[in-house]
């Protein structure tokens, strides 16, 4: 079980062309704009979602999942390759006992409601001018590091 996350990294560890890094930067900029203009990076919207007082966040998540799922199905069906003609493969996540997904997911969920932000919005909020979120990011790094430290002793 200790290999699950390592495997994912290695399977996606194809070399990246320097010119492509610029495109990843542009995609990131587009994603930062999207998270801001859709307001999913807002603490208020997250509270509204967890209180079921507006369908908006659920509509956004559901339509995002459907769009992504149809795209992934099309990529598979048509056997599409990357722009550099490499095969596209999505490494399956091993469910195993599922403890890591249930417990880890639960703990992240608490953090999501407390900060009003998942990892992406933590960074987008800094760009939005909520600079105190740098401390939130630092704290998240400590959390991730602590997981790495405890990992051999945690059930997965």
């Amino acid at each position: 079980m200790a290999t699950a996350a390592t495997t994912i990294d290695q399977e996606n560890a194809q070399p990246v062309r320097p010119a492509h890094l610029f495109l990843y930067l542009l995609f990131g900029i587009a994603f930062g704009i999207t998270l801001t203009k859709s307001e999913v990076a807002s603490w208020f919207r997250i509270q509204e979602m967890f209180r079921f007082q507006s369908p908006r966040m659920y509509e956004i998540i559901a339509s995002a999942v459907v769009t992504a799922a149809v795209s992934v199905a099309l990529i598979k069906r048509l056997g599409l390759k990357t722009v550099t003609d490499e095969p596209i493969s999505i490494a399956p996540k091993t469910l195993g006992a599922g403890i890591r997904y249930a417990v880890g997911g639960f703990l992240f969920g608490i953090g999501w409601a407390l900060t009003g932000a998942c990892p992406g919005p933590l960074f987008v909020l800094v760009g939005n001018g909520v600079t105190v979120m740098l401390i939130g990011i630092l704290s998240a790094l400590v959390g991730t590091w602590f997981y790495g430290f405890l990992r051999p002793r945690l059930p997965h």
Partner: protein, 185 residues
């Protein structure tokens, strides 16, 4: 540009655009859309120690994602710089519920009375930012993904593990919203 940056995007634009990042990253370089891996890459880059979880070539596997992350900060800046500063138009029910918890500032993207340097060492600021941030980092690492990696990429690829994780996200979020927030806000 004007319509792109002024005002809030409706859900039927926002959702599909978010979803399109999954095929965009697959088609560009067979990359799986997921933000929280960056927290691991940053740990691996800065303080790997002797921890096997952080002993890997982060430049090889994570540089593209860290560049994407840097773009997100820039995008967040551009969107708020060019866009009109406006209150988030949450429902009145939410306003009322939050006001009962003692949140009175509804301007900006997050309430300043909690998310500001000034509030960092108040109880509400400390729990929201520092305890919350820690749980985001610990939880996503343990679960091997966050909203983007599990709830979007994972569900889109029909991964059962991601469904378990997503249910966990909402279970934790609901618990915190209804039982923890009233204790410290």
């Amino acid at each position: 540009m004007n319509t792109l940056f002024s005002g809030t995007w409706p859900w039927y634009i926002a959702g599909p655009v978010i979803g399109l990042f999954v095929p965009a990253l697959l088609l560009l370089g067979n990359k799986v859309f997921g933000v929280s891996s960056n927290l691991r890459h940053l740990c691996a880059a800065i303080v790997p120690g002797r921890i096997t979880y952080f002993r890997y070539d982060w430049k090889q596997s994570g540089l593209w994602n860290l560049v994407f992350l840097a773009g997100m900060v820039i995008g967040g800046f551009l969107a708020s710089y060019w866009g009109h500063a406006q209150d988030i138009a949450i429902s009145n029910h939410t306003r009322f519920a939050l006001a009962k918890l003692g949140v009175h500032d509804f301007s900006g993207v997050a309430p300043r009375e909690i998310f500001s340097w000034h509030a960092l060492f108040t109880v509400r600021g400390f729990v929201s930012i520092i305890v919350g941030g820690f749980l985001v980092g610990f939880g996503t690492a343990y679960a091997g993904g966050c909203t983007s990696g599990h709830a979007i990429s994972g569900l889109a690829a029909l991964q059962p593990a991601s469904l378990v994780a997503t249910i966990g996200f909402f279970a934790g979020g609901l618990l915190a919203t209804y039982f923890l927030l009233p204790l410290f806000l």
